[in-house]
């Protein structure tokens, strides 16, 4: 944000900013601190927020079963983000290099799935894939029989890719837009074909957008609940489902808190590492 008019310095700025700061404090910082505190408590049937002090909840995260959930979460999120990058790149390029009406239509087509509730989209997938759903109706019509298409990793990845695509496309196209068109033209005039321009000029120059889009997608996927819960059922388990079940089904709040804290730490670590080793974001 460039300062158009000279920036002022007057105590009233704190008054203007205070309501937002208060919201962040009450609805984000205090609950997060509460999670950290509960994560060190022993589970108790008399006090739901636990008693005493223990590291057992973190030890549980190290248990092969829970470690497996964390591993699967990261694996599925990273696969989905990579697929979203591959599928989203052409769309992002077209969006970045369009103008006028075409651009408006394209951006609306990306914003609708972005802003629609994930539940609505997952319900769409559900009726496409379920045993009496759209695909199975087609399959039976041509005599291929009935398939169980839900409750497997492919269904979860399809859901996560669809969920991440708008984030990826918008992030990529913002960085492709910053590449001057005449750089591409220059490469073309020097004899490079369109795909060579893509591989040698556009792709390297949009690395920052690719990285931030990838991280954003890994972030949103690894904390997803609805997609794995509906599309994976009981066969695919991600961290979000485990936390949800611990809180609302098992009433094991200390364990859920520890899992939450671990998830935040892992995500922060990934982001920090990528920012250090990755290309500098423009």
């Amino acid at each position: 944000m460039s300062s158009v008019s000279p920036r002022l310095d007057h105590p009233v700025k704190y008054a203007l900013f205070l309501p937002y700061a208060a919201m962040i404090f009450c609805f984000l910082i205090v609950p997060m601190a509460g999670l950290v505190e509960v994560s060190f408590r022993q589970q108790s049937s008399v006090r739901i927020t636990g008693l005493g002090f223990t590291l057992a909840n973190y030890a549980r995260v190290g248990d092969p079963f829970y470690l497996g959930i964390l591993f699967d979460t990261l694996r599925l999120s990273m696969i989905s983000a990579a697929m979203a990058a591959i599928l989203g790149y052409p769309v992002a390029y077209v969006l970045a290099r369009s103008s006028g009406r075409a651009k408006t239509v394209l951006i609306v087509a990306i914003m609708i799935p972005l802003m629609t509730s994930v539940v609505v989209k997952v319900f769409g997938w559900y009726i496409i894939l379920e045993p009496s759903g759209v695909i199975n109706a087609l399959s039976r019509a041509v005599g291929w029989g009935r398939w169980n298409l839900l409750h497997n990793e492919i269904a979860v990845v399809a859901g996560l890719v669809e969920f991440s695509l708008p984030f990826m496309v918008l992030s990529l196209s913002a960085s492709i837009e910053r590449i001057p068109r005449n750089v591409e033209e220059a490469a073309g005039n020097l004899g490079a074909g369109p795909w060579r321009v893509m591989a040698r000029v556009v792709l390297p120059m949009s690395r920052a957008g690719l990285l931030s889009g990838y991280l954003l997608c890994v972030g949103v996927s690894s904390s997803a609940y609805v997609v794995p819960a509906i599309m994976g059922g009981t066969r695919v388990r991600m961290v979000g489902q485990q936390i949800y079940d611990d809180v609302l089904v098992g009433f094991d709040w200390p364990s859920a808190s520890a899992m939450s804290v671990v998830l935040v730490l892992i995500l922060s670590l990934i982001f920090y590492a990528a920012m250090r080793i990755g290309p500098k974001a423009a």
């Binding site: 944000m1 920036r7 700025k13 900013f17 919201m23 408006t104 509730s117 609940y225 949800y244």
Partner: protein, 259 residues
């Protein structure tokens, strides 16, 4: 063929994949058939009538999701607009830190925000209500308001306000009379985004809504497993129709191309 042309052809199936669940929901909801037939062979509004007659669905739309979205959008708009004005017009210790604070509610995992608040309310013995869910919705709506209002403020010619100052208006009055009226479409767009964010939220509502504050997305989620006829598709289609219409309005107001 140009690079853009070739990539445009590749993009078509990707965009179709992106829009597929939304299209299928619309097709089933506006179709006549009760058997989840897609594409529909004939159109009808019967599932929308059925939606209106099913108390669980229509109550969650009219008594929970709509009032909740409107109220939290109003609060997020007030809070976000003030913060945006502060960020653009005033010098802070670090305006980068400020940007980070504006980004935090967007990137912090919502499911953890939900769990954290669920535990906090239980601990403080606060009975869950529309107000406790609304507070969380206000926070996730704020960044959208901040973004659109900052973009609006940066685009307004400061000479207008200077002229008002030169004519003797106080700084506040100059802002209110010269700049604020030009900011209205940005503020309204921010409010619409904040409404959409609340209207489509599931991760917070999953933890924070209770029996009499079931939002439409939560209702869809809980009915999905017992789905018997396309009434639930009509509920989902209403979400899509409302959100798409609002996006078109935002596009008219400020243009989505440069959000």
């Amino acid at each position: 063929m140009t690079l853009r042309g070739q990539l445009a052809i590749i993009s078509i199936p990707v965009i179709a994949f992106m829009l597929m669940p939304v299209m299928v929901v619309l097709g089933i909801a506006f179709g006549e058939s009760a058997n989840f037939e897609f594409p529909p062979s004939s159109l009808s509004l019967r599932w929308f009538y059925s939606f209106m007659e099913t108390a669980g669905f229509s109550d969650s739309l009219f008594y929970v999701s709509l009032p909740l979205g409107i109220a939290s959008a109003a609060a997020a708009t007030a809070i976000g607009t003030l913060a945006a004005i502060a960020a653009v017009r005033f010098r802070f210790v670090s305006n980068r830190l400020l940007e980070l604070l504006f980004l935090t509610p967007l990137i912090y995992p919502q499911i953890l925000m939900g769990v954290g608040l669920f535990l906090l309310y239980a601990r403080l013995n606060i009975t869950p209500s529309l107000l406790t869910l609304g507070g969380a919705h206000v926070l996730i709506g704020c960044p959208y308001v901040v973004r659109t209002v900052i973009a609006g403020l940066v685009g307004i010619d400061p000479k207008l306000e200077e002229a008002a100052r030169n004519l003797g208006a106080s700084p506040v009055k100059a802002f209110w009379l010269a700049t604020f009226p030009l900011l209205r479409s940005s503020i309204l767009s921010g409010a619409i985004f904040a409404f959409i964010v609340s209207f489509s939220d599931i991760n917070l509502a999953l933890f924070l809504s209770i029996v009499n504050t079931v939002t439409l997305p939560v209702q869809i989620m809980s009915q999905m497993r017992f789905v018997s006829d396309p009434t639930i598709a009509a509920a989902a289609a209403l979400q899509i129709v409302v959100i798409s219409a609002l996006l078109v309005i935002v596009n008219r107001l400020i243009g989505l191309v440069r959000p």
